[in-house]
Symmetry: C2
Subunit: 98 residues, 2 copies
């Protein structure tokens, strides 16, 4: 694994290396249609909406979640393949050296 790829991957791992963000990804992926409104994510985490929005933005900026505004609410879904790509780094033994 060259240095540039390691830096890029570590940014994505950092984005999910937080208890609240892991739970957000979990909640989004378990939602109907793998999509959740920010309005549905505050109560399970027992956090205020500004805090939840802050964590969601980090996940969007890292390319893990995508955000779509519909009406007054923002809806979040998984970026297809993003988590699989990270998992692949962890499971492909020689692949980590690609």
């Amino acid at each position: 694994m060259d240095a540039a790829r390691a830096v890029s991957l570590s940014r994505q791992f950092k984005a999910i290396a937080d208890p609240n963000r892991l739970r957000l990804v979990s909640l989004v992926s378990a939602s109907p249609g793998s999509e959740a409104c920010v309005c549905d994510l505050t109560e399970p985490l027992d956090l205020g909406q500004p805090t939840v929005s802050h964590h969601l933005k980090i996940l969007v900026d890292a390319g893990i979640l995508r955000r779509e505004k519909r009406g007054v609410w923002a809806y979040y879904s998984l970026v297809p393949g993003a988590l699989d790509a990270l998992a692949d780094v962890l499971t492909t033994r020689t692949g980590t050296g690609r």
Copy 2:
């Protein structure tokens, strides 16, 4: 995913969410027998041995690598199943809610 599990998982993700530590895991896993001497890990990373040992300790403390002293050198190998368990969190869509 409950809060306690999210905290536990986030500790392991934090351990690998660093460019040098990602490269160390990559180097160890690609080594013959999936085991590497600390003496073989300094040159590829272009880091001093104290820095490499610091990063290796974080990976050992997180349960990702294990350390075995043989003679004057410490040898590092992957903890069986540790990376697979993290990958499983990322790929099992409903599993993140377990």
